[in-house]
């Protein structure tokens, strides 16, 4: 329902047929033989953002460049790189924008602290209410 618009845009933005005239990169649509490596590559690809389509992971994108990126990811992991190495290789080139898993740093600090703060706030609200209620009861008695 939603990514649809991204997809539409992607299809309108790029003359797909022309780019597809070229064979896809070797590992764009091909899995690695080693299932453990493929699993690593797959979960990494789901966290990397397609450069051309703005709001999709490269695992979900039909854009040719996403295929090239998938191939790079698989090839590098097959060559022994860890997923984190591949991720930081891309972050070095495109910045944090490229990963859906925002690295913890000064910019994203508040984002990562937010859930903890919200939980503490929730517990504080709940405790405050219950405690006050007990006091009220004492007052009443």
């Amino acid at each position: 329902m939603t990514k649809l618009f991204a997809l539409i845009a992607l299809l309108l933005a790029a003359p797909v047929a022309a780019q597809n005239a070229l064979p896809a990169a070797p590992y764009a649509h091909q899995q690695l033989d080693d299932p453990v490596q493929e699993e690593k590559a797959r979960s990494l690809m789901e966290e990397l953002r397609c450069l051309k389509c703005q709001s999709q992971s490269i695992a979900d994108s039909d854009a040719p460049m996403a295929g090239d990126m998938r191939s790079q990811v698989r090839e590098r992991i097959a060559a022994g790189a860890t997923p984190e190495e591949v991720r930081s290789w891309l972050i070095e080139r495109y910045g944090d924008w490229v990963t859906y898993n925002p690295p913890v740093n000064a910019v994203t600090g508040p984002l990562w602290i937010a859930p903890i703060v919200l939980l503490i706030l929730a517990i504080w609200l709940a405790r405050g209410r219950f405690r006050r209620r007990k006091n009220n009861q004492k007052d009443a008695s």
Partner: protein, 645 residues
């Protein structure tokens, strides 16, 4: 003349809304009760007029009246009737008219059916409803008139985007909109209650059916939207944590919290301020969601023709309504009495926990969705926030929440003991522990969240039926069954999500006709590839046979469709559903050796996600009907008792 009639009806409806607001405002300030009597008819007239206006727009689309700009831009003469009709709201102006039409009809329904509220609260509610409507009428009439004519009249229209020509996508927006706008009524109720300071069980009981109704539609809308994204987009995913999806999830989270807190208010007269706040937040989230989607502020320029003028207009409306309601809250709620007191270990205690955890999840989704925009505004950096963040941040809280959900209904109101609860919940706890043990023992690749989720689901599935224990099944009220089914639905959906996440098997192959592919117990044979033609597309269709174990062979046909008019290509996935999961096959491109890309998934129990969603909505529906029936029953009894005296 139909277009002009539609426009006139819209203007008349807008003036009715204005009258409705003026009557209630003057009546309240001057304390003139006779003005109040006129409000119900005016609200009904507004609803009828705006409905007529919307139906006339649909009629223009059905007739393919190419002298209307909106029809030209979004329709063609040769198109199935259903997509002509859905074309009416498959665009910006039409969808806003649909929004305001639903809102007007809902206001009329209050005017007709609502008999339990005090007159002053009712009048204030209808006044608030009219006040919201006026903004949207102004928006339609000033910034996006759907009935605008075009001259010279073109021979034919430009057509509806082929991707939107899908029965699911035709029905999806109205479903969500009914949910969103239903929440506007809760919002108006809250505003009315804040102005009159009349917050109590009666108010909660009057608001509850509306909240339940809106929630049912939201649940259905999200469930259906998730399924359509799953099968239409061909990526095998059912939730992407995309801003647009989050925009529909946030009102649902707020509404879920609201319908639980409203129960506390109705039963125990507690959580008054909190319930008011949630009612305001729930509709605010609906408006914010609509704004985020419509303004394109969160999506790329490549995806939307961003219209800053329209975006600014809606944003100004948001500032007036949400800002106004929240200022009213701050000014008024201090003088609303808190309500009765309660104990931590009690039904109310569990419901408070439910509310706070749901609000925490809502906060996280809200912050995560808007944070990239915030960073862009504050610095030169650009970041992305996606599934890894949302899953990690909300997953654990959601699991705690569903654990409390299992225990909550087994607690007594007012006061209960933890020991007694443990006694009552021992079987589900044991089941969860056993499931956890079995999963750890027999599966290898489950990560923590799905593992705990699935184990919890086993316990919840049983615990959700525990409220029926030792009860007379025929005398158990319908709304209790509603709760049981909705909670059971959560367990069902949880199993589906955990199973899909953990046990999906994916196979990408480059196949030539005749090749056989093995996935799990499936034997899949790529038989042939052939061209097929549809009304406005041509496609390459793969003929594939699939056999599970030694059962019957099924034929499926994934397609690669080319739409001539729009110069675009879509992938039509082929699905094969069994009781224990779905086989999902997507046809890709061919390579230079003439092999075809096939992407095949076996997703065990994936369908449970949506069955769960439907069960949740069904539970809400039963609860709503049960509450309405009980209310009318009690009223009859009261009337009978009065007659006897």
């Amino acid at each position: 003349m139909i277009a002009e009639a539609g426009l006139i009806a819209l203007w008349l409806a807008a003036s009715m809304a204005f009258l409705q607001f003026a009557l209630s405002a003057i009546g309240l300030v001057k304390g003139q009760d006779e003005l109040f009597k006129a409000i119900r008819p005016v609200a009904i007239a507004q609803g009828v007029l705006v409905a007529i206006s919307f139906l006339l727009l649909v009629w223009l689309f059905v007739r393919s009246d190419m002298s209307v700009k909106l029809v030209v831009a979004n329709s063609v003469a040769i198109k199935p009737l259903i997509y002509k009709i859905s074309g009416a709201w498959g665009n910006h102006e039409g969808s806003m008219l649909l929004w305001i039409a639903i809102m007007g009809v809902a206001g009329a329904c209050i005017g007709i059916f609502e008999r339990n509220l005090k007159q002053k609260t009712l009048v204030t509610t209808l006044g608030a409803q009219a006040f919201i409507s006026i903004g949207f009428y102004a928006y339609l009439l000033i910034a996006s008139n759907p009935f605008e004519r075009i001259f010279p009249v073109p021979a034919d229209g430009q057509g509806l985007n082929p991707l939107l020509q899908d029965i699911g996508l035709a029905l999806h927006p109205p479903t969500l909109y009914i949910g969103y706008v239903g929440l506007s009524i809760a919002f108006s109720f809250a505003v009315g209650a804040m102005i009159t300071r009349d917050v109590g069980p009666e108010f909660a009981k009057a608001m509850r059916p509306w909240v339940l109704g809106a929630w049912v539609f939201l649940t259905l809308g999200i469930t259906a939207g998730s399924y359509w994204a799953y099968y239409e987009l061909g990526w095998g995913g059912w939730w992407f944590w995309d801003p647009v999806e989050n925009a529909s999830l946030m009102p649902w989270l707020a509404a879920t919290a609201l319908l639980h807190s409203v129960t506390v208010l109705a039963t125990r007269d507690g959580l008054r301020a909190w319930t008011l706040m949630l009612a305001v937040v729930a509709f605010s989230m609906s408006m914010i969601g609509t704004f985020l989607v419509r303004s394109g502020v969160l999506t790329s320029v490549h995806a939307f023709a961003v219209d800053p003028e329209r975006g600014s207009f809606i944003l100004a409306l948001l500032a007036i309504y949400i800002g106004g309601a929240m200022a009213l809250f701050a000014l008024r709620v201090g003088s609303v009495k808190e309500g009765s007191q309660f104990e931590p270990v009690s039904r109310e205690g569990a419901l408070v926990a439910n509310n706070l955890l749901l609000s925490a999840i809502l906060g996280i989704v809200f912050i995560g969705t808007l944070y990239p925009l915030f960073v862009e505004g504050m610095s030169d950096e650009m970041i992305s926030v996606g599934p890894p963040y949302f899953n990690l941040a909300t997953g654990p809280i959601a699991l705690i929440l569903v654990a409390i959900m299992a225990a909550g209904p087994l607690l007594r109101w007012r006061r209960d003991s933890a020991k007694a609860l443990l006694n009552r919940i021992s079987i589900p706890v044991f089941l969860t522990a056993a499931a956890l043990f079995a999963l750890v023992l027999f599966t290898t690749s489950m990560s923590v969240l799905p593992l705990v989720g699935m184990a919890l689901a086993a316990g919840i599935a049983v615990a959700s039926f525990a409220p029926l224990w030792k009860r007379n099944l025929r005398r158990t009220p319908m709304h209790t069954y509603g709760m049981i089914i909705a909670h059971f639905g959560i367990a069902v959906a949880l199993v589906g999500m955990a199973s899909e996440t953990s046990f999906t098997e994916e196979r990408l192959v480059a196949a030539t006709p005749g090749d056989e592919i093995l996935v799990n117990k499936w034997k899949i044979k790529f038989e042939a590839i052939e061209p097929v033609a549809g009304p406005n597309w041509t496609a390459l269709e793969a003929r594939v046979t699939a056999q599970y174990a030694d059962e019957t062979i099924h034929e499926i046909a994934p397609q690669n469709r080319m739409f001539a008019s729009a110069q675009m290509q879509t992938s039509e996935a082929a699905l094969l559903t069994r009781w224990n999961g779905q086989l999902y096959v997507v046809l890709g491109d061919s390579d230079e050796q003439g092999r075809w890309q096939l992407r095949i998934w076996w997703k065990p129990f994936v369908t449970l996600i949506w069955y769960g969603g439907v069960l949740i909505a069904l539970g809400g529906l039963l609860a709503m009907i049960g509450r309405l029936r009980r209310a009318s029953h009690q009223k009859k009894q009261r009337a009978y008792a009065e007659a006897m005296i």
